[in-house]
Symmetry: C2
Subunit: 350 residues, 2 copies
Amino acid sequence: MKTNAYAAQNATTSLSPFSFQRRDVGQHDVQIEILYCGVCHSDLHTVRGEWGGTTYPCVPGHEIVGRVVKVGAHVEKFKEGDTAGVGCMVDSCRTCANCKEDLEQFCEKGTIFTYNSPEKQTGGTTFGGYSDSIVVDEAFVLHIPQNLDLAATAPLLCAGITTYSPLRHNNVSKGQKVGVVGLGGLGHMAVKLAKGFGAHVVVFTTSSNKVEDALRLGADEVVNSKNADEMKKHLNSFHFILDTVSAQHDINAYLLLLKRDGNLTQVGVPAEPLPLQVGSLIFGRRSLSGSLIGGIKETQEMLDFCGEHNITSDIELIPIQNINEAYDRLLKSDVKYRFVIDMASLKQAL
Amino acid sequence: MKTNAYAAQNATTSLSPFSFQRRDVGQHDVQIEILYCGVCHSDLHTVRGEWGGTTYPCVPGHEIVGRVVKVGAHVEKFKEGDTAGVGCMVDSCRTCANCKEDLEQFCEKGTIFTYNSPEKQTGGTTFGGYSDSIVVDEAFVLHIPQNLDLAATAPLLCAGITTYSPLRHNNVSKGQKVGVVGLGGLGHMAVKLAKGFGAHVVVFTTSSNKVEDALRLGADEVVNSKNADEMKKHLNSFHFILDTVSAQHDINAYLLLLKRDGNLTQVGVPAEPLPLQVGSLIFGRRSLSGSLIGGIKETQEMLDFCGEHNITSDIELIPIQNINEAYDRLLKSDVKYRFVIDMASLKQAL
């Protein structure tokens, strides 16, 4: 069916109105009327071709929340009228070892991402959530807890799972001291989730104007990471640190804050290599890991956890007509803490 | 008692004969007549002051094997005539969390190393194994399996445990594919131990003249890490990689060879930071760790394992008079694979 959207036509132009055909609803497919779509920094990287490999036109968006309007004959998990979510993935091979272990984000045949991936069913390219409708195999569609604000839930589909997964994988639990480096879209979710797990949460920031906000979001302590004396007080004391910073920074300073056998996981992807002092790892048998979103099963688990703990993202709701301005503000970290597009605005525009 | 040794008097002179007083044998002490002492690269770094903080005169040596000649009144584990070993540590606080967990190498009050550490009992500095005798609390003395060649066992006390500990900590076991980067003193032990655990062992080297030797030592495959095509064949295939290289090198190339959730552990300590591409960790949820020797309990476990599997180091036995030449050769990696000092030579010299 005809779908209205915003797309980038090449790496250098602004996003602008675009329409295309979604595939027909297959036997296992769910068609979702998109109500809200979060704005992730990956959207910006992709539309501007900063990661290479962007196919244009490109319709970004992978923090999708909406209402089921049609289901295929064999769909079992969803019915018309359900609220539903779609995150970063819409398909995978489902047969490799990683898929079998519910880690479709590491599909050995190549995860089918929500946008800018080859679409199995059509031979075209997947188009994301800056659009009024999407058709997805029910295996990659999530249930949204009824108590959560829908707009503020959208960012959980990427920012939420990206922080939930490493916290869970590292068994973050009650009484542990957990650090969060950087207070942006990912960092602010990490604070809420780590608090949800019962941890003592310390936020590291270089922006003094974020201190109050960090405490409001639930942080127990805030450390100015540029202040060597403040940092020194926390040496050898953290079970786990989640580093959400995608700019160049000194990870060694954070590694030294880990206890013996502590882990620091990076979810930000700096463009340039980070200089790693191996001694920071050797003394204390510490480890440094990476983590990428989470599998579908874990994403549902995260949504359910957020429902139970009433956790959503702090958002700024925008009409899609403001998306290019939002990108400019994103580059200046001028958002608390996630832009979400109100997709009703797409209808108004037409 | 008077002890003959070789010492460095400052950072720039050669090692030369030196004598000093060992403390009297205390109630929990064991006095060991040193028969063999391995030559570790740390000895060279310390005597030349390359790590800072060297107290002179410095008697290095922490791969000690010998015979018990005297025991204190309360010694329970050793008797006169036993063969015994001493590794990198001779004491620790024994009360901190790490000591209580048998990880004295991470003692929170500061591990007392076998040389160049403050000696509790005397207020002086510990002197190591380039000497004819040592007095050590029995809690830090190891039993040597009877079937092993004593000279070739000495390097197990540092090179052995440094490689055994991370292999064990990462649960290396039968059928797993394990990589060893660098074939030197540490690397050649890692090959033997990983084979002992039943792993499929792949050695990475840049020296074509080490291929034959790697296979002789038990490696199943040898990869020239400078050959991109060879490296590519091993992408996403390793459970675990032990990196023993202490020179600058591209760890990202090895991280990409790990399977999902695979770990690379560094035991070499490059002086300069290693450039780390975070993407190498994020795609595959891989991790990078450090490891430092092992605790006393694990060191005994390692020696017992080596006894059962008849594993020792490949050594070149030297008289202590050749130690300075040995250091020069060490810097050129001209040793297969560990120099061991025959301490009988110390008597001949006098």
